[in-house]
Symmetry: C2
Subunit: 250 residues, 2 copies
DNA sequence: TCTGGCGTTCTAGGATACAAGTTTTCCGCA
DNA sequence: TGCGGAAAACTTGTATCCTAGAACGCCAGA
């Protein structure tokens, strides 16, 4: 079995990338990185899809050099797998990785809300505004809007806790987790309302200065993705030979 | 004032790199990354030293391509700063960054020992062996040997806890912390003995299954670097215009 | 039909060439 | 001597070319 398929049936990377407009006045590498990362996280480029440097370069009308830089960074994040002299593919999602991501987020974001509850003087207005956006997104059933607001909410907490580096680390594991969350969304109609309520609980605990409670609520919140994974595993079982999720037993 | 000095007085990168032997049978980029990272962490290439792609490439008898790959990765880790069209330098060390590194390590490694104390069946023989090496290094006053054994000790804990991704994240912040520790070593003659005793305390707590105690001991342990930073700040105050440490007020 | 070997084709890695932008240098000039 | 300012000499960023190695496909042989 080849490690990298030439083409993934029913998927055309060139078509997905054809609308990408690169700004030649800015550095190209980071732009390609941003585009590819977003496409992978939102599963517009599915697991196992080949990411050949040449294909991407020609689709975006640029050379391979900035494409290589972007792919290397995605490899470091674990979103892409590259086999030397063979090719690159979008990494598949396995449960162990998600589970460890949960451990990492629990540790880091738990610490973030603990710091917030203990010492910082949060900008409540900003948090309230983000919660309002989430509430609105839930009411409208706009999953993508909720996803964006959720990202901003967590980033806001980290920023107010004065932990920018911690947030960068969280982001690198959050990418994998978000892939699962976004894929599972349509199988979990009520999940976003749940997540919103968990956010409320976290904020309430922080507001009252209850560090331990805030940490506990954050743990519960980030652990939610494990359920999403299992829902997704059931929903996609046997759906396709090119499994989105890596089999539990490799 | 230039953002990147052409040359740092009293320092010759070419000389440091002249002994580097690249294995043309392996990928070159990762080799250069490893070399540069080690040189920076061990302060054999000091803060502020220029890292021009061409200099490195010619010194190692290779092209700029793999050098660029290595530098990009070091930039992501925060060990190198690159200004577009201007140049790259070894990043300076500032206290806020170290402090946040401590927070991150406390969160992640605290979680690691908590997991170990709660569930895992650690390989005590391996831990004991590493502790013995440390004890030996302390007795001989071999700072570098202790550094290596310390790295292995922490890596061992993470591995046994089944948290390889968490360990990778720890490593990325540990690099900055190690720079401080290694620089401060000669100003803190008893520090390694202290660190060894802290390791013992951590292991003892884990062995007894006392998760909270293990976490607390790990916190104390990783916080030690803040003292090292302050010792170093005093020792190097006014030592040089090209400060190793970034001034508290930028 | 299956299998094994060999040549073609494709891939990423590295080297080299060129472009765009910044810093330094140096010369005319007051 | 001090000061603009233009040009030279750097830098990193991008494009293109070459190469080693892996996978595919064809074909001969059983």
């Amino acid at each position: 079995m080849p490690r990298v398929k030439r083409k993934l049936p029913g998927f055309d990377l060139g078509q997905v990338l054809s609308e990408v407009a690169v700004d030649r006045a800015q550095a190209i590498g980071p732009q390609i990185y941003d585009v590819l990362r977003r496409l992978i996280v939102q599963s517009q480029v599915p697991s196992g899809a080949p990411l050949h440097e040449n294909d991407i370069a020609t689709a975006c009308r640029i050379s391979r050099t900035p494409v290589r830089a972007a792919l290397r960074q995605l490899v470091l994040e674990g979103l892409v797998t590259t086999w030397p002299q063979v090719g690159s593919v979008v990494a598949s999602i396995d449960r162990a990785q998600i589970a460890e991501g949960v451990v990492i987020r629990r540790a880091l974001e738990g610490e973030i809300v603990r710091l917030l509850a203990q010492q910082a003087q949060p900008d409540w207005q900003r948090i309230e505004a983000l919660l309002a956006v989430q509430s609105d997104a839930v009411a409208r059933g706009d999953d993508y809007a909720f996803f964006v607001a959720d990202e901003q909410f967590h980033a806001c907490l980290a920023e107010m806790a004065g932990a920018p580096a911690a947030w960068r680390l969280v982001q690198s594991v959050k990418a994998h987790i978000d892939r699962v969350r976004l894929l599972a969304t349509r199988h979990q109609p009520g999940r976003h309302r749940e997540a919103y309520l968990e956010h409320l609980a976290i904020v309430e605990a922080v507001r009252r200065g209850r560090a331990e409670e805030a940490t506990r609520e954050m743990s519960r919140h980030v652990e939610g993705v494990l359920k999403s994974f299992d829902v997704l595993a059931v929903a996609t079982a046997g759906a396709s030979a090119d499994a989105v999720l890596k089999p539990a037993v490799a």
